[in-house]
Amino acid sequence: MSGALQFTDLTLGYDRHPAVHHLSGRLAPGALTAVVGPNGAGKSTLFKGIMGFLKPLSGSISRDGFAIRDIAYLPQAAEIDRSFPINVFDMVAMGLWRQAGLFGGISRKARDRVEAALAAVGLTGFEARAIGTLSGGQMQRMLFARLLLQDARIIVLDEPFTAVDAKTSADLFALMQRWHGEGRTVLTSLHDIDFVRANIPETLLLAREPVAWGPSAEVLTPANLLAARNLCEAFDSEAAFCADDAPPPGRQDGGHTGSHPGHDHADAA
């Protein structure tokens, strides 16, 4: 099962200001990796980049043997219109989009899969409930059920345990471990550092700059965490051009690398 993500000197950002700066590395197929870092560290930005919602300012993301559509993505505080008149069953059945498409019917077997996914997240009996009546935790369980149906090789979760109680996060984490056991690649941003250290094998510590990436115990050292905390969060509107910035592909003269020798990372000071 291929499913590696390769970041090559990747810089992502908004208005030319980097939010993820010069990230290089490889997400191995089947890895269960946490992305940890302070608010504004670029975790969500990185995920948007992986999903292709955001074009790299420089560098690249290569997806080895799969397309963006093979990635299942759970955004942070999903922008779901909770007042929309749709029930839990239909919402979860959206996960079947790749099989059902525009017109495909939902077969008896597919219905059973939806039921099984709902059972796996503990929402049996909620099929006919309108999504607006769910609590925050139930909502997150429902979205996990939809992820289950998507049957994706790569699963990207942005802060899946925010505003979710301990029981729910334990149940949802069990699903993540199940995915990991099935050889899927799972990338998730998390805030609870002790939890990550104890439960997630690999960690990328991000603070706009990648601070460290490797086995969680080696990454989440006090020294690294302090370094991450010290990296500033705010955009510096006076930031100089980044000297490490390679000219965009296809253009030989980027204009800034050569003409501003000696600039260092003023924008990341």
């Binding site: 999903m51 919602f53 955004p75």
Partner: protein, 292 residues
């Protein structure tokens, strides 16, 4: 007794061809416009429909200026103007500080003023009234055919994009992550809005065209709690409003367009009060709460 009911409810249509044509016109209009209205409402775009209805006016007016009350010229002008304004408003919202609703408001006020000015340049006050309030009692064959074709196209396209449209309404990020259908769906939907407003423009005029779209949709919201139910209720409400409005107009000598919209408005107020889904009476007397 039976003959009285017959006189009241059926005779106007049995006796007068123009009433039959009007009934067919508003029914076809409701079949296409009401489902579109439901989606406009659920996407919080109710006012967008209103703005686009006004935007159609200058286009239709230019058609009128060039070739008088010609169906083709006014329809083509209206379609072009509607699509241009929808695109411009989107562009302004994306490239400037102005939000989409504010940019639509500026465009439609401008369009309304421009349209009225153009019609007045050539036409009479009667022409102006015709453009503003439509002429459901004077639908000729080509216009009737146009409305029927528009309704057919609307239902077919809606069937085609129904699934991604619903998904796009609930969870646009999800659609974006699983398929590229989001943007084409949105564009097709906007095109359907314009097509139906042009239909409505011929029957009910530029000011009331959006009424047959939005009022039934709002009615539907009070009677059903899933999207399919809302669409069905809205369409039935639109057709019944058309029928009852024509009768009201016939018996009370009211202009027909406003009569249709007034009846729909009456149903809306009833629904607001007595609708089982969030109606006021239900809110005041919710019944005893359940055990779990």
């Amino acid at each position: 007794m039976v003959s009285m009911v017959h006189d009241l409810l059926i005779a106007p249509f049995a006796d007068f061809a123009f009433m039959r044509r009007a009934l067919i016109g508003v029914t076809a209009l409701a079949l296409g416009a009401c489902p579109i209205g439901v989606f406009l409402m659920l996407r919080r775009m109710s006012l967008v429909g209103d703005a686009m209805a006004h935007a159609i006016l200058p286009g239709a007016a230019i058609g009128f200026l060039l070739s008088g009350m010609s169906l083709f010229a006014m329809t083509a002008g209206g379609l072009v103007a509607g699509i241009v304004v929808a695109a411009l408003a989107g562009l302004v919202a994306r490239t400037t500080q102005l939000r989409e609703d504010a940019s639509l408001a500026t465009f439609y006020l401008l369009s309304l003023a421009l349209g009225v000015a153009i019609v007045s340049m050539k036409g009479t006050n009667i022409d102006l009234l015709h453009v503003l309030f439509g002429s459901v009692l004077a639908l000729d064959d080509p216009t009737l055919l146009l409305i029927a074709i528009n309704a057919t196209v609307t239902l077919l396209v809606l069937a085609l994009i129904y699934r991604p449209l619903v998904m796009e309404c609930v969870d646009p990020h999800f659609v974006r992550s699983v398929s590229g259908a989001g943007a084409p769906t949105h564009l097709a939907f906007l095109a359907l809005v314009v097509v139906n407003l042009v239909s409505g423009f011929h029957a009910l005029g530029t000011l009331l065209a959006v009424g047959i779209m939005m009022l039934p949709a709002a009615i539907g919201r009070f009677w059903a709690s899933d999207i399919t139910g809302i669409v069905v209720v809205a369409t039935v409400a639109g057709i019944v409003s058309g029928y009852a409005g024509l009768l009201l107009s016939f018996h009370a000598g009211m202009p027909s367009g406003p009569a249709v919209i007034l009846v729909a408005g009456g149903f809306y107020i009833l629904s607001l009060l007595f609708g089982p889904v969030g109606g006021l009476v239900r809110q005041i007397f919710p019944g005893r709460h359940l055990e779990a």
